[in-house]
Each structure stands twice: as structure tokens, then as C-alpha cells.
């Protein structure tokens, strides 16, 4: 027995041997991994470290334990509002944007190729260009010259212009609308490509086997074939819907009226860029980090069950 043990290699030794065999590959990955570590992996840990300190860039960070977190949860009503706003936005634009992307992609795939290509561009365009959403400030402008206001005034539906982007009653709705307008992004492309990738033979077989309409086809053939793309689209939808920030600044200003559309990232930027309270900003970042990971993992688990 002891002989055998001596001769067989431990997993660790085997690993080292393999690593030596493939050392060229490590060299190949090195440049990317250096940047990836420097700007993605290490910053996450630095964030966690800073979140336990008071740090204003000028002086070295001073360790203050959990104080930042205590302040966030017990002493910062604006953070609570930001979390609430972010979750409302995410819960609405996430799932609806996701379903919208999928339905659009699915309907597009019923069309002839030329028309499909054209409509793909039209639907994808809003999310391509970084700040096309700025146009909504003119559509929903608060004076009588705003596009929507002027139409409503002319029709006699309102007597005075509505401050769409400054009135708490409407701000959130408009941010949601704009986010939905931009929700057909990379996930949408993935869906289109995935739908085209389902083998034609499967549909033909289904036709013979008595799948009566396109809804049955969607449920029994298309969806089970699309699980990987559905998972990818979900990651994009969750991450984007929790990261809304530039849109609220462009539409509602910073800070927005009574913080009505203040999101977690707005709050993070407020402390990180304007107030230079880096430790506190990092505590916000850490919470957002775990929130995004947790929701993503949960959604992946649920979607993994599609078609099984």
C-alpha cells in the first residue's frame, strides 16, 4: 500500500506538472490578467478595505471599523431612499426590459431577413450611443415649449405646463420609460442570434408532431434551446438595471428634486467625487457589489430551471 501511495502523485504535484507543461499559456494570458487584476479584481478588495476606514485622499486612511456601515444604515435617510429608488427601478426595468428584449427578438425572427436587419438597428440604436437619452429633456421639458407639454396644452388636457422632470410625481415614471427605451442592448442581440441558431429541423419535426401554433413552439422548442442566451441576457439586464445613474443626472439633475430619483450610484458619486469621503463611498460600493452579485446569482438559479 505504502509503495502505491509513494508512486502515485498528489493532486498538487500533478497540478504543478500541468502548470509547467502549459507555462506558455500563462505567459499569453499575463498581459490581460495584469490589467484585469489592476482595474477589476484588486479594486474590489481595495473597496472592501477602504470601507472600514475614513479616507479623504489627502491623508492616509484611518481605520474606523464598521462606522461607515453603521452610518449608512442608521444615520443616512438619503441612502435609504437611494436603495428604495434603485430597487424600484430595477424591479420594473429589469424584468420588463428583459421580457421586452426577448419578445422583440422573438417577433423579429418571424420576419424576412432584410426587414429583420432594419428593425434590429432601430430597436438597438437607443442603447448604442452613450447619451442619446438627452433628447428626452426636450421632449419632457417643463415649460410650454416642451414637446409633450405643448401637445397637452393645445389639446386642452392641461392648463399649465407640467414640470415632468422636476415634479416628484412624474420623475420616476419618466426615468423608467427612458430606461425601458434603452433596454434593448447586448442581451437583445444575444436573443436574436440565439433564436436564429435553433435548428430548423427541430421546428419541422415539431410541425409534424402536432405543435399547433407559435406559442406552443416557443414554449416547447425555442425556450429550452435558448437557456444559455437567456442566462446571459439576464446578467446584462440585472447589472444594467441596478446601475442606472447617468440617465437620472441628465434628466432630473443632480441631486434630483427631493432625491426622488436618487440611485445608489448617484449616492456613491456624491460621496466619492464631490465630497471626497472615499471610505464612505467605498462602503456604498461594497453594498452595491454584493447586491448585484446576489441578485444575479438568484436570477441565474431561477432561469436555470427553464425547460428542465
Amino acid at each position: 500500500m505504502t509503495d502505491l501511495k509513494k508512486r502515485s502523485v498528489t493532486p498538487f504535484q500533478y497540478g504543478v506538472k500541468q502548470a509547467k507543461k502549459y507555462r506558455q499559456l500563462y505567459v499569453m494570458m499575463l498581459p490581460y490578467m495584469i490589467f484585469f487584476c489592476a482595474f477589476t479584481i484588486i479594486p474590489v478588495f481595495i473597496s472592501i478595505f477602504f470601507s472600514f476606514t475614513q479616507f479623504n485622499v489627502l491623508q492616509p486612511p484611518a481605520f474606523i471599523g464598521l462606522n461607515n456601515y453603521i452610518r449608512l444604515f442608521l444615520d443616512d435617510p438619503i441612502f435609504a431612499k437611494a436603495v428604495k429608488n434603485t430597487l424600484i427601478l430595477a424591479v420594473i426595468t429589469g424584468p420588463f426590459g428583459y421580457l421586452f428584449s426577448f419578445l422583440m427578438a422573438w417577433m423579429l425572427c418571424e420576419l424576412p431577413p432584410k426587414l429583420r436587419a432594419l428593425l434590429t438597428v432601430i430597436f438597438y440604436a437607443p442603447s448604442i450611443s452613450g447619451n442619446a437619452y438627452v433628447i428626452f429633456t426636450q421632449l419632457f421639458s417643463g415649460d410650454a415649449y416642451g414637446f409633450i407639454n405643448s401637445r397637452l396644452l393645445n389639446m386642452g388636457l392641461i392648463t399649465a405646463p407640467i414640470l415632468w422632470l422636476r415634479d416628484e410625481k412624474y420623475m420616476m415614471t419618466i426615468v423608467i420609460l427612458v430606461s425601458l427605451w434603452m433596454s434593448l442592448g447586448v442581451g437583445f442581440l444575444s436573443f436574436i442570434a440565439g433564436l436564429q441558431g435553433v435548428e430548423k429541423a427541430q421546428y419541422e419535426a415539431a410541425e409534424v408532431d402536432g405543435v399547433k401554433n407559435r406559442w406552443q413552439e416557443l414554449w416547447y422548442i425555442t425556450l429550452p434551446n435558448m437557456v444559455p442566451q437567456l442566462l446571459f441576457g439576464a446578467v446584462m439586464a440585472v447589472t444594467n438595471s441596478l446601475a442606472v445613474a447617468d440617465v437620472t443626472v441628465a434628466l432630473n439633475g443632480f441631486p434630483s428634486t427631493n432625491y426622488a430619483t436618487h440611485t445608489i450610484i448617484n449616492h456613491l458619486n456624491d460621496y466619492g467625487i464631490i465630497r471626497l469621503d472615499m471610505g464612505y463611498a467605498c462602503a456604498i460600493a461594497v453594498i452595491l457589489f454584493f447586491l448585484m452579485l446576489f441578485i444575479n446569482k438568484a436570477v441565474q438559479r431561477v432561469l436555470g430551471k427553464v425547460g428542465t
Binding site: 499559456l25 490589467f35 479584481i41 473597496s47 430597436f123 442619446a132 442570434a193
Partner: protein, 317 residues
């Protein structure tokens, strides 16, 4: 034994008859409904028309802000402030573009400088991103070695949080490296965007292993395999990576990193202009249109390549 066979045959016959029936129905359909249903018997013409109509309406809704933006760029100043504002332009002019070039010829930093800055950032960032991603994706896609699974799952995980999370430490790292207020503060993080690596890795997994084995028998090094065998086979993926990094860098204002006016990119100038009040509305409309058009045109050109890459974008468990 015999009976089972018989029923099987009967079933087959029934199926064939059903299919023939459907085929016949299809033959009776008009040319129009054949077009609408793509010749599939389990599609109804009415359903297709409803779907098309619905899509058409939604496309109009989605297009509406875009149309407004495009026509704004061609509106003379009196039409920009007309009451009620109109969706379409009445007397289209190129005044706004003209004003833009005039304004920028007079300004301290010439317009061409902003264009150069943005192009420099976009081109260098994209090329570096494509090269580094290819080199990192090839080992992860085609080999199993210690750490490969861990690295793949790290990349996948980094898709799950946005860059805002790492913004503060990134600034600290940049200032530590002495890169604040230079192009590199925007370019270097773009090298390691994880979406690019993810898409490239998935696409490379499709390249037949036999090709790589053949190269290996011929005595190629890993670099040789990547350059001569894999790179030519994944052309759609590098076009896609270019589009992805272009889109993210084209809109980059360099906000927190770049302070010197000389090296600010285009979007930074756009936001300064739009802050300068009503008098510049026409110019802002013109620039917005320019900023919007370039990435859309690039996407139109590369659409088929992008979709080919996206077909492999799924997350496999």
C-alpha cells in the same frame, strides 16, 4: 410482434397523411399569406399580420425620440423655439453644422483636437482590448490547465457588477501610477473589459480542436496556433469586440480623470456646450446627431458579424 409493427406503420401513415393535408392547405394559401407565414402550416396569416402591426407600432414609438433628434439638427434657430414644437423640420438647413464648425474654429482648443482625442482613445483602446482579449481567451477556450476554471468564473463574475463599484479604487490606483490627466487613464481599463473576453472565449470554443491539434503536430507554438489558426477563424468576434469597445469608449467623457482641455474627448466638449445655454441649442443638436450617427453606422456595417458572435454568447452551466 406483428401487431406492434402494424400500429407503428399505421401511425406513420397517419402522420404522412396529416402532413399531406397540411401541404394541401398550404397550396391553397394565397401568395400573400405564404409570405406572411413563411410557408409554415402552423402559422396563421391573421396572427402574422397582428404581430407585424404590433411591431410596427413599437418601432415607431422607439424611433420617435431619434427622429426628433435628427430633425432638430436640421432646424433653423427660429424653428427650434417655435410654438408648438414640431416633430419634423419645415425648412431644413445646415446652419447648425455651419455654426458648429465656426464656433470650433474660434475656440481655444480646435474641434479637430477633440476629434483626435476621441479617435486616439477609441482606436488604441479597442486594438489593445482585442489583442489582449484574444491572447487571454485562447488558453481559456481550448485548454484545461490549473486555474483555467477559476479564471473563467472570475471573468463571468465580473460581468455581474458594473464598473461604478470599482470607480473609487480605480481613481486611487490611477493617481498612484501617475496616470491621472492622461489618455491612459481611460484607455488602460478598457483593455480588460470582461464582456470582450467573455464573448471571445465563447466564440473560440467553436473553433474545431482538430485544427489546433494539426498545428500542434506541425510543431507550432501556442502563439503560432493563435496567430495562424485561431485568429483567422474568429474574425467575426474581433469585429464584435471592436464594436463593443468602440461603443463604450466613444461615449467616454473621461470625467473624473482628464482635466486638461487639450486632451478632453468629444463627449466632454458636448456636455460643456449643452451647459452653455439656449443660444447654442442648434449646435448642440448638430453634435448630438454626429455622436449618435457614428456608432449606429458602424453597427449597421458589422451587424451580421456581431450577430454571428452573439450566437455563442450564452452562459453554459
Amino acid at each position: 410482434m406483428n401487431r406492434v409493427k402494424l400500429t407503428r406503420n399505421q401511425k406513420k401513415i397517419q402522420k404522412i397523411m396529416k402532413k399531406a393535408e397540411r401541404q394541401q392547405k398550404k397550396m391553397h394559401r394565397s401568395a400573400f399569406s405564404r409570405l406572411m407565414t413563411q410557408g409554415r402550416s402552423n402559422r396563421s396569416t391573421a396572427g402574422s399580420i397582428t404581430l407585424l402591426f404590433f411591431l410596427f407600432l413599437l418601432a415607431l414609438l422607439m424611433l420617435f425620440p431619434v427622429v426628433f433628434m435628427v430633425s432638430n439638427a436640421f432646424k433653423p434657430i427660429n424653428e427650434l423655439f417655435i410654438f408648438p414644437p414640431r416633430l419634423f423640420v419645415i425648412n431644413p438647413t445646415l446652419d447648425n453644422f455651419h455654426d458648429l464648425s465656426e464656433l470650433l474654429a474660434d475656440s481655444l482648443v480646435p474641434f479637430s483636437r477633440y476629434v483626435f482625442n476621441t479617435l486616439f482613445i477609441v482606436v488604441l483602446g479597442s486594438v489593445g482590448h482585442i489583442l489582449l482579449s484574444c491572447m487571454a481567451a485562447f488558453p481559456l477556450a481550448k485548454f484545461r490547465f490549473p486555474g483555467s476554471k477559476l479564471l473563467s468564473s472570475l471573468v463571468l463574475m465580473s460581468l455581474m457588477f458594473s464598473t461604478a463599484v470599482t470607480a473609487v479604487p480605480n481613481y486611487v490606483i490611477m493617481s498612484y501610477l501617475g496616470l491621472v490627466d492622461s489618455y491612459w487613464a481611460v484607455i488602460l481599463p478598457a483593455f480588460s473589459m470582461s464582456l470582450g473576453l467573455f464573448l471571445m472565449k465563447n466564440f473560440m470554443e467553436q473553433v474545431p480542436t482538430a485544427l489546433i491539434d494539426a498545428a500542434s503536430i506541425d510543431g507550432a507554438t501556442y502563439f503560432g496556433m493563435l496567430w495562424r489558426v485561431v485568429m483567422p477563424a474568429v474574425k467575426p468576434a474581433w469585429i464584435t469586440l471592436f464594436i463593443v469597445s468602440f461603443q463604450s469608449l466613444w461615449g467616454a467623457t473621461g470625467g473624473n480623470f482628464i482635466y486638461t482641455e487639450n486632451i478632453k474627448p468629444l463627449p466632454a466638449m458636448l456636455s460643456q456646450l449643452s451647459g452653455s445655454g439656449v443660444a447654442r441649442s442648434g449646435v448642440v443638436a448638430a453634435i448630438s446627431l454626429l455622436m449618435f450617427t457614428v456608432p449606429v453606422v458602424l453597427f449597421v456595417i458589422s451587424q451580421s458579424n456581431v450577430l454571428e458572435t452573439m450566437a455563442t454568447s450564452g452562459i453554459k452551466e
